[in-house]
């Protein structure tokens, strides 16, 4: 019964700086983000991104961390022992075997967002698989205040993953498809992710197209997230991290609700946590940490 293809996952990949020679570098810092759904490892050389990997998280997190760093180091000639300081973050942050220190993903996402979208960013939204964080930070990416969804996952990435699986649509396509509707349908009411499935089925049975269902879910999610953001106060220069940032179906609708545009960045929003962790590692190195 279980679908073999996992539509809900983002594709894995690695990136490496085309011409940087890390051996010239003085400081080599790494950030590892072991999330509930995906893991990223990112290496900074003298504060500049040298390489990173974006993999799925297995249910065995120590391996996830190892796999992620191995993927990032692949063909670079660099080895784990070359990492001078490593910070782990995410759900599995305490299980990164080679990490020198663990820092929460809340601090890391803010710091990463600050690097990716500039010092003017004051509000960061991170929508992970398990929870949704609204973060307020200062010009250095230091968290000044944050809110997380309480005991309800409506408005987390999970909802979208459930839809992708149910409708057998790769998660990366959901956003665009959600706009291919004649008119915006009523947002769905279901607040419980576990029931979203049956609700969607019900809608399809009553003749809704897949795209309409997607549209209804995207707007419902955008609305819930906007409420969370409303509680922390959205300021201009607002940035979205995590997989959800790649879903225009939610981002555009959220921007409409809030009446402001999210800052765009050339970096993959999914690496924000690992990047932030790496930047902390780099700072700690400069402060002479061992």
């Amino acid at each position: 019964m279980a679908e073999l293809q996992e539509y809900w996952r983002w594709t894995e990949y690695t990136w490496r700086h085309p011409e940087m020679d890390w051996r010239q570098g003085k400081r080599i810092a790494a950030g590892i983000d072991v999330g509930s759904v995906s893991s990223q490892a990112l290496i900074l050389v003298d504060g500049e991104i040298f390489a990173f990997s974006n993999l799925r998280t297995g249910s065995n997190s120590p391996d996830s961390a190892n796999n992620a760093i191995k993927a990032a180091l692949k063909d670079t000639g660099m080895e784990i022992k070359d990492l001078q300081y490593t910070v782990g973050t995410g759900y599995g942050r305490v299980n990164v075997p080679f990490a020198n220190r663990a820092i929460t993903e809340i601090a890391c996402h803010a710091r990463g967002a600050n690097f990716m979208a500039g010092p003017k960013v004051r509000t960061v939204l991170d929508m992970g698989g398990q929870d949704c964080k609204a973060i307020h930070c200062d010009e250095r990416g230091k968290v000044t205040n944050f809110l997380m969804n309480d005991k309800c996952a409506a408005g987390t990435g999970r909802g979208m993953e459930v839809m992708a699986d149910l409708l057998s649509i790769p998660i990366k396509d959901i956003g665009d498809l959600s706009f291919q509707v004649d008119e915006e349908p009523q947002p769905v009411s279901s607040t419980c992710v576990v029931f979203a499935k049956s609700e969607a089925l019900g809608l399809m049975r009553s003749g809704w197209s897949k795209n309409m269902v997607l549209a209804a879910y995207c707007s419902a999610m955008a609305h819930r997230v906007s409420l969370l953001l409303g509680r922390i106060g959205v300021e201009d220069q607002f940035f979205i991290t995590g997989g959800i940032a790649k879903n225009p179906g939610i981002v555009k609708r959220l921007e409409q609700e809030l009446g402001i545009q999210a800052v765009k960045s050339q970096h993959d929003s999914q690496i924000a946590g690992a990047l932030g962790a790496g930047l902390f590692a780099d700072t700690l190195l400069q402060k002479g940490a061992q």
Binding site: S189, T191, L227, G230, R231
Partner: protein, 444 residues
């Protein structure tokens, strides 16, 4: 199965009048200041006779009925609740309160224009949410807040000291209102208002008592739009006059055997506020020949009952009927305090056993076949103890169905599940849909 008897039905003549009174009420409140009048807001359970002593141009808007009106407009209701969520208030708080606050925060009045700011808030404290409701509202609007603590235990245990405690607070509140409004308080107006209050609430109890008749002249769905007038301003003469008119019409319906539900063959009561956006579930039950003849909520929220000579439940005798002549402010306050403390819907706050007793009394005197309890997530005050009421009723052999919902937050009501639950309950009561009833509804 043999087709059940079909009773004659007629539209209620008073209906348009009730609607008119409601609309006028909100208009008057919104425009009170333009006419130099006074505006106060608070709970439907506030001692609304008391501010009447400030003059004939005193207008009130009680929070619960206002929020209930909004609940019928699901979109605005949601906007209001979102506005309240956005300020960090918990989603499980009283949904009336969340809607009222939202309307206040958004500065949007449901009946048009900006949210009318009251001159003061006046409230009674029996449910944990009441004081908190107006505490926040008065802080936000920067106006005074007077709250009368009526948590003195069930009426059956009322003592002189307990009554005094309430009366003393009422005296204080009058002084406060005088300061706030700079007006001289008129005891004659208070006395008149107290008489009106007793009359309106006793009349409503009398109307509910007429529903003991088979077929029932009124169904609960209709009663919802009638009992509400007492929640708006039971101490106004207009409202009393209306109930007198209504009482006479209902009496006449009983005399002529006019039914509210044509195929009545099963009588039930419900409990607490219904999910206002989904009153069609009552229509659905009618398809099975089921009539809800009311509830402790529709009866006892604003109807004041008392034991009659024959020991049955009926309207409590008013001071006028008892030939009591109220002379002083203190006498008036003592009477309104005692009268309100005897309110049926206040007793369960202390002990569900009292409510179970009252419900069983209704089951017998109103000749019921079952009870449907609404586990209302929107109102912990009226839902408190419901589970014990269910056990008590079942123990007494009464078929009970419960369903979860919320009077004003549609996210917490599931129409499909509730309907199929009702259908199952109908099966246990041995009832099937009546083709005639279904057809009639489809036609209308």
């Amino acid at each position: 199965m043999a087709t059940p008897t079909k009773y004659p039905t007629e539209a209620l003549k008073c209906w348009p009048k009730a609607k008119e009174l409601r609309q006028q009420y909100y208009k008057d409140y919104a425009s009170a200041h333009d006419r130099g009048g006074i505006r106060w807001s608070g709970g439907a359970w506030a001692f609304d006779a008391v501010p009447m002593g400030l003059g004939d141009d005193v207008h009130v808007m009680t929070g619960e009925p206002y929020a209930a009106s909004i609940a019928f407009d699901r979109k605005f209701a949601q906007e209001c609740q979102d506005a309240t969520d956005a300020r960090g208030w918990a989603r499980d708080l009283c949904s009336y309160m969340r809607i009222y606050w939202g309307s206040m925060y958004l500065n949007r009045f449901f009946f048009g224009g900006e949210f009318p700011k009251p001159d003061f808030y006046y409230q009674t404290q029996i449910c944990c949410s009441h004081a908190k409701w107006d505490q926040e509202a008065s802080l936000y609007e920067k106006v005074p807040f007077y709250c009368i603590d009526v948590c003195v235990g069930p009426y059956e245990t009322l003592t002189e000291e307990r009554l005094n405690y309430v009366v003393k607070q009422l005296h204080d509140s009058i002084e406060g209102m005088e300061k706030t409004t700079g007006r001289k308080y008129d005891d004659e107006k208070l006395i008149a208002a107290v008489h009106n209050e007793c009359r309106s609430t006793s009349l409503w109890a009398e109307i509910c008592t007429l529903n003991k008749a088979i077929p029932a002249p009124l169904d609960e769905k209709t009663m919802f739009s009638l009992y509400v007038l007492n929640t708006l301003q039971r101490s106004s003469k207009q409202i009393g006059d209306f109930y007198e008119e209504l009482r006479d019409e209902v009496k006449d319906r009983v005399a002529r055997g006019i039914a509210a539900v044509p195929y009545e063959r099963c009588r039930i009561i419900t409990d607490t506020q219904p999910p206002w956006g989904f009153l069609k579930i009552y229509r659905y039950m009618e398809q099975f020949g089921v009539v809800s003849v009311g509830s402790l909520y529709t009866f006892g929220l604003e109807g004041i009952f008392g034991e009659q000579e024959d020991g049955s439940w009926g309207p409590r005798k008013t001071p006028q009927q008892l030939g009591i002549k109220i002379k002083t402010r203190d006498e008036a306050l003592r009477i309104t305090a005692d009268w309100n403390l005897s309110r049926p819907q206040w007793q369960h706050f202390y002990d569900p056993a009292i409510k179970t007793r009252m419900m069983l009394r209704i089951v017998n005197e109103w000749k019921l076949n079952g009870v449907i309890l609404h586990l209302n997530r929107g109102c912990e005050g009226l839902t408190v103890g419901s589970s014990e009421n269910r056990l008590g009723l079942i123990k007494a052999g009464v078929p009970v169905m419960t369903y979860e919902g919320n009077m004003a937050d549609e996210k917490e009501f599931d129409e499909r599940r509730t309907t199929s639950r009702i259908e199952s309950f109908m099966e246990t009561l041995g009832l099937e849909q009546i083709p005639g009833a279904v057809a009639a509804q489809a036609a209308s």
